[in-house]
């Protein structure tokens, strides 16, 4: 098979699965999971085939492109030297998205497999697997796209599937609200993205990634314009990758089924922003101001959410804030000028974070609670498979050598140390320390608690057991070995020591606080400190959005609606028609049938006319 065939297979297999599941008759919709898994396996195998065919980047990049829409054959802005505007569609494969496509398709497959276990009892399974397949379709489209507009198209589609899957259990008000919040906040961020694309298109004339090179951009556009466009497009990244101040949707997105959180809200979709930063890196790196803003936003996000992760009780929220924080680190790395290290952390993070989410799903499905103390109380530590995988994932997350997270985080620290300046390096070090702290905290609470009300596992069929354990073990293995695949790998002793010290310090602090989880919980309940309050209210970000929507946006809407009804409808329209009617009534009074009145009018008007003419 040629590359183009493989692209089509990767792109269309999940779409086909989605369509098949839609037309499936109700009587045999039990096979929906099988369809989803079979087609996602096909896509995964096709992308593995691609990555073997192009191992070490041989023969790359490959591009297929065709015209999609002729916008204009003249320059829309008269003083811009672009002869015509044409939008195209196509595939572009380079080492960057080869990595990404393999990651997306393999994790998609593992998540579909795990979902078979997790959603086993849900009556809406066909809908679930349909949406999941549609997500894979949109995500592969995003990754393989060769230009910014096509990326935007699929960017919105992944946002849509995220909306549909967060609100999967839409009977729950919280789920429906969280879904809407995710979509609207992403839309807010995407306004910038959209505007940036249009400006770039108008001023630069093309949106193909292959043509967005720093020199070419600098030749055509001034520094200010480049910064503006870069920042506008970065807006979209901030939405999708949950960067401050648009990060608020991601923790709420945990309302969705847990495998969805693993796939969409940790490994692939939220990483799409970071991926875009790397994909169109020249667009951002062409201006130093843009890079500095990116670095700062990443730093704020990473630090802020690491502190929030440290106080959560809900296992999924801990992981969600941790995801935001790790994304912040990746953004920082790219802001410091190293797209490779950001992408490297993205790939290791994708494996170990999806492992962690699936593990949490395994806990939640068995113990029917998200609260880590309750999980522990119901016997979390007796679930050896899940506990082992949790340990694997957390070790990788906190950056213990030789787990994958260590290598990638190390690389980011190194980049920041050399290119980011002492301040941002310090932030990253602090974030690493906090990461180790909340990771160990999570582990100690589950592993060291006494079991109170033990919940025994139901008897599960062998298929279910496999579909539970196989993805966990595979991802655990991947989160161990992917660390060695980073090409620019070399061991830096100084950083190794720093990392180890950070992990040990974080772990020790967590141990000192949570060696007796029950006592720690009591202390936590009693904590009314000022800082704790701020953390509990999530730095008042949700309140700020609430204020903007309700007190500003909707209030304006109310005012305009009143204006529409009162001024335009009543005053202008109805009053006009009423006055016409009133006039009619007045005039009709003239025609009262009394001859003497007619005579009086005639004489009166006659006299008036005579006077006028005289």
């Amino acid at each position: 098979m040629t590359d183009l065939h493989l692209f089509w297979v990767i792109q269309l297999a999940p779409l086909l699965a989605f369509l098949l599941i839609q037309v499936l008759p109700k009587t045999i919709n039990k096979v929906a999971p099988a369809i989803g898994m079979a087609f996602s396996l096909t896509a995964a195998l096709a992308s593995l085939n691609l990555s073997f065919a192009h191992s070490q980047g041989a023969g790359l990049p490959v591009e297929f492109s065709r015209q999609w829409l002729v916008v204009a054959d003249y320059a829309v802005w008269p003083n811009i030297p672009v002869p015509h505007y044409t939008l195209s569609v196509g595939f572009l494969l380079d080492p960057l998205n080869l990595l990404m496509i393999t990651l997306v398709t393999t994790i998609s497959f593992f998540v579909q497999l795990f979902s078979f276990y997790y959603m086993n009892e849900d009556p809406s399974r066909p809908r679930y697997f349909g949406f999941l397949s549609f997500f894979s379709f949109s995500m592969t489209g995003l990754v393989l796209s060769n230009n910014l507009l096509q990326t935007f198209l699929f960017w919105e589609l992944v946002g849509l599937t995220s909306y549909l899957l967060i609100g999967f259990w839409f009977e729950k008000k919280s789920a429906a609200t969280a879904a809407r919040k995710a979509f609207v906040i992403n839309r807010l961020a995407d306004l910038g993205f959209y505007l940036g694309i249009i400006l770039l298109f108008l001023l630069f004339g093309t949106l193909g990634f292959a043509t967005l090179k720093a020199d070419a951009l600098r030749n055509v556009l001034g520094h200010g314009t480049l910064t503006l466009i870069g920042l506008l497009i970065f807006c979209g990244v901030m939405g999708k990758s949950a960067q401050f101040p648009f990060h608020v949707w991601l923790p709420d997105a945990m309302e969705g089924p847990t495998p969805v959180s693993a796939l969409i809200h940790s490994a692939t979709m939220v990483a799409a922003g970071v991926f875009l930063l790397a994909r169109a890196f020249d667009l951002f790196s062409a201006s130093h101001t843009t890079l500095l803003v990116i670095l700062s936003i990443g730093a704020i996000t990473a630090l802020m959410s690491a502190t929030l992760a440290a106080i959560q009780r809900d296992i999924k929220r801990i992981l969600a804030y941790s995801t935001v924080s790790q994304l912040g680190l990746m953004v920082m790395a790219i802001g410091a000028g190293s797209a490779e290290s950001g992408m490297f952390h993205l790939s290791t993070h994708a494996y170990f974070k999806s492992l962690l989410f699936l593990t949490s799903g395994a806990f939640i499905h068995r113990f029917h609670t998200n609260d880590i103390w309750e999980i522990a109380d119901r016997g979390g530590k007796k679930d050896a498979v899940a506990l082992g995988c949790l340990a694997f994932g957390l070790l990788s997350l906190s950056g213990v050598p030789p787990f994958a997270g260590f290598f990638s985080k190390d690389l980011i620290l190194e980049v920041l140390k050399h290119h980011g300046g002492i301040f941002f390096y310090g932030v990253a070090v602090l974030v690493s320390f906090l990461t180790a702290y909340y990771s160990f905290r999570l582990f100690f609470v589950i592993a060291l608690s006494k079991i109170g009300h033990e919940v025994r596992a139901h008897h599960e069929s062998l298929t279910l057991k496999i579909s539970r354990a196989l993805p966990l073990f595979s991802l655990a293995a991947l989160s161990l070995i992917t660390g060695f695949t980073g090409h620019a790998f070399h061991l830096n002793m100084e950083l190794l020591i720093t990392t180890v010290i950070l992990v040990v310090a974080g772990g020790a602090l967590a141990y000192s606080q949570f060696k007796d989880p029950a006592a720690a919980e009591a202390a936590l309940r009693g904590n009314q400190g000022f800082i704790f309050k701020i953390l509990e209210r999530k730095f008042f970000m949700d309140d700020a959005y609430d204020f903007l929507v309700k007190k500003v946006g909707l209030a304006l809407g109310r005012w305009l609606n009143a204006f529409d009804r009162a001024v335009i409808n009543s005053l202008m329209v109805n009053q006009t028609s009423f006055s016409v009617m009133r006039l009619g009534r007045v005039v009709s009074r003239l025609q009262n049938g009394l001859l003497q009145d007619y005579l009086a009018w005639a004489v009166g008007i006659g006299i008036l006319i005579v006077f006028c003419f005289l």
């Binding site: 829409l69 916008v71 829309v76 505007y85 839409f170 609207v184 946006g553 609606n561």
Partner: protein, 502 residues
């Protein structure tokens, strides 16, 4: 333009139709109307089938028309001309160009789906379908005629049945809404007709023929400015231009399902079409003169309509105000006076027509089943009736400009043109995307998500027959969202000619 040549070569069939195809499209509903009138009242199914057959006839013929139509030929083509009152220059003459070929298709699609959706009508069936066919004959006539007298005549034919449809089969304050709508539209048409008569009275004119007017008459700048203003207000009323928009939500709400579909889907497009066909075509200088004001009003439509929509509690009012907002995009496209903007505006007319038809087809079905359209009284419908909910959600997603749907491309083109011409207005207009997302998703959440409302426990989902028209509309939206170049090919040469480029 490589694309256009390739396209035209492929479809350069060695044929002109053996019969006047435009008149045939116009005659389909007229013949259907006559047959319906001749059928006795009690044969309801026969009446419905007759109406459906004539709608299907127009649909097939307008698809055939697309294949006969040559996008690479400038100016009008397939001209049909029959002299009627020669001394006054009143002729029955039809023609197509890029401007109306897609509008004819839109009308055919919407009437076809509208008749299928009205299958459940039980009250005065014969009168209902007769009115529908009468209305749509007028609409086809307006879109295809090149004579201003007939333009006005057909326009009036389209308005009157709408009054009856609302008053007899409508709901919610229907007498008021019907009267308001009719008065508004007649006011608009009065202004329009005054403009036509003034043109007729100009020296060298003495004709209502659009092409002859264009060729023979030199409109001085002052005349252009005044005439365009009058015509713009006249047509703007019909296109629901701010501040003449209030008839439209009230009318939508009161009208029965199929009438809402035609009303929002097609009737509002007549206004925007008139601005292009008559206003911009004959009075380009006047259009340029007023373009800034049009752009400001369009921006009001876009943002104001969306803001007011956030406050509505009735599903039909939400769709009604969203139409006001989306028609603003059409007006903004026109205001840019560029081919990109015009292409986008016409595409938006088409996409919005199909999208609102779908919206009303869904709301109407829900209203029939639940007897309410208030958001607070609905809830959880997705569980009970997943298919109709999915259709509404798809329409909503199209409305909020989701890529992959027709509206996205249309809005993209208009926004590109607007940012090129009026950067500030273009940038502010983007904000509507956020507001639209907010009110559409809020409506979806309230009506379809959340716990099911026990009042509507016996609400039945779509059957296969009612599935067809809605699925057809969705297919159109997605098809043109994925292959927009096909559509732009039809229109782009004509919009260029309209602006006197190339």
């Amino acid at each position: 333009m490589g694309g256009r040549h390739r396209h035209s070569d492929r479809f350069l069939l060695p044929m002109t139709p053996p019969f006047p195809i435009l008149s045939a499209i116009l005659l389909c509903p007229v013949v259907g109307l006559l047959l319906v009138l001749l059928t006795p009242r009690k044969y309801e199914t026969l009446i419905k089938l007759t109406a459906l057959a004539s709608a299907l006839g127009t649909l097939v013929l307008s698809v055939v028309l697309l294949f006969i139509f040559k996008p690479s030929v400038p100016g009008f083509q397939l001209i049909e001309h029959m002299e009627w009152i020669k001394s006054y220059g009143i002729h029955y003459s039809n023609a197509v160009d890029g401007l109306n070929v897609s509008m004819i298709l839109l009308t055919a699609i919407v009437i076809f789906c509208g008749i299928l959706v009205s299958w459940s009508v039980t009250y005065r069936v014969k009168d209902f379908f007769a009115n529908m066919l009468f209305l749509v004959s007028g609409v086809f006539g307006v879109f295809m005629t090149t004579n201003l007298f007939f333009f006005f005549l057909f326009y009036e034919i389209a308005v009157i049945p709408m009054y009856l449809l609302i008053v007899i089969w409508g709901s919610t304050n229907k007498e008021y809404a019907a009267m308001k709508l009719t008065l508004y539209l007649l006011l608009g048409s009065a202004l329009m007709f005054a403009g036509f008569l003034y043109m007729y009275s100009l020296p060298d004119a003495r004709t209502f023929d659009l092409i002859a007017l264009k060729q023979n008459v030199r409109f001085t700048p002052e005349v252009q400015n005044i005439l365009f203003l009058g015509l713009f207000i006249g047509f703007g009323v019909l296109a629901a231009c701010f501040p003449f928009h209030v008839w439209s939500p009230d009318g939508h709400v009161a009208a029965p399902t199929a009438a809402s579909m035609l009303h929002a889907g097609v009737l509002m497009k007549l206004g925007a079409f008139g601005i292009l066909r008559v206003g911009v075509y004959l009075l380009p200088e006047g259009a340029r003169h007023w373009a800034d004001w049009v752009a400001v009003l369009a921006l009001c439509n876009i943002v104001y309509g969306a803001m007011v929509a956030t406050q509505q509690k009735d599903l039909k009012y939400i769709v009604g105000y969203s139409s006001v907002s989306h028609m603003g995009i059409v007006l903004l496209g026109i205001a840019t006076m560029t081919t990109v903007g015009f292409n986008g505006a016409i595409f938006q007319m088409f996409a919005h027509g199909i999208m609102t038809a779908l919206f009303f087809a869904c709301v109407g079905f829900i209203y029939d089943g639940c007897h309410t359209r208030m958001l607070d009284e609905l809830g959880g419908l997705s569980k009970q009736a997943p298919v109709i909910s999915a259709f509404f959600i798809i329409a909503g997603l199209c409305g909020l400009g989701l890529p992959g749907m027709g509206s996205f491309v249309a809005e993209l083109l208009v926004t590109i043109a607007a940012i090129g011409t009026y950067p500030a207005i273009g940038i502010i207009s983007i904000v509507a995307l956020l507001i639209t997302a907010f009110y559409v998703l809020t409506a979806i959440q309230k009506a379809f998500y959340g716990p099911a409302n026990p009042h509507h426990a016996d609400f039945k989902d779509l059957d296969w027959f009612q599935f067809i028209p809605r699925a057809f509309l969705v297919a159109c939206l997605i098809f043109f969202g994925i292959f927009p170049d096909i559509f732009i090919n039809w229109v782009s040469l004509s919009t260029k000619t309209l602006l006197g480029i190339g």
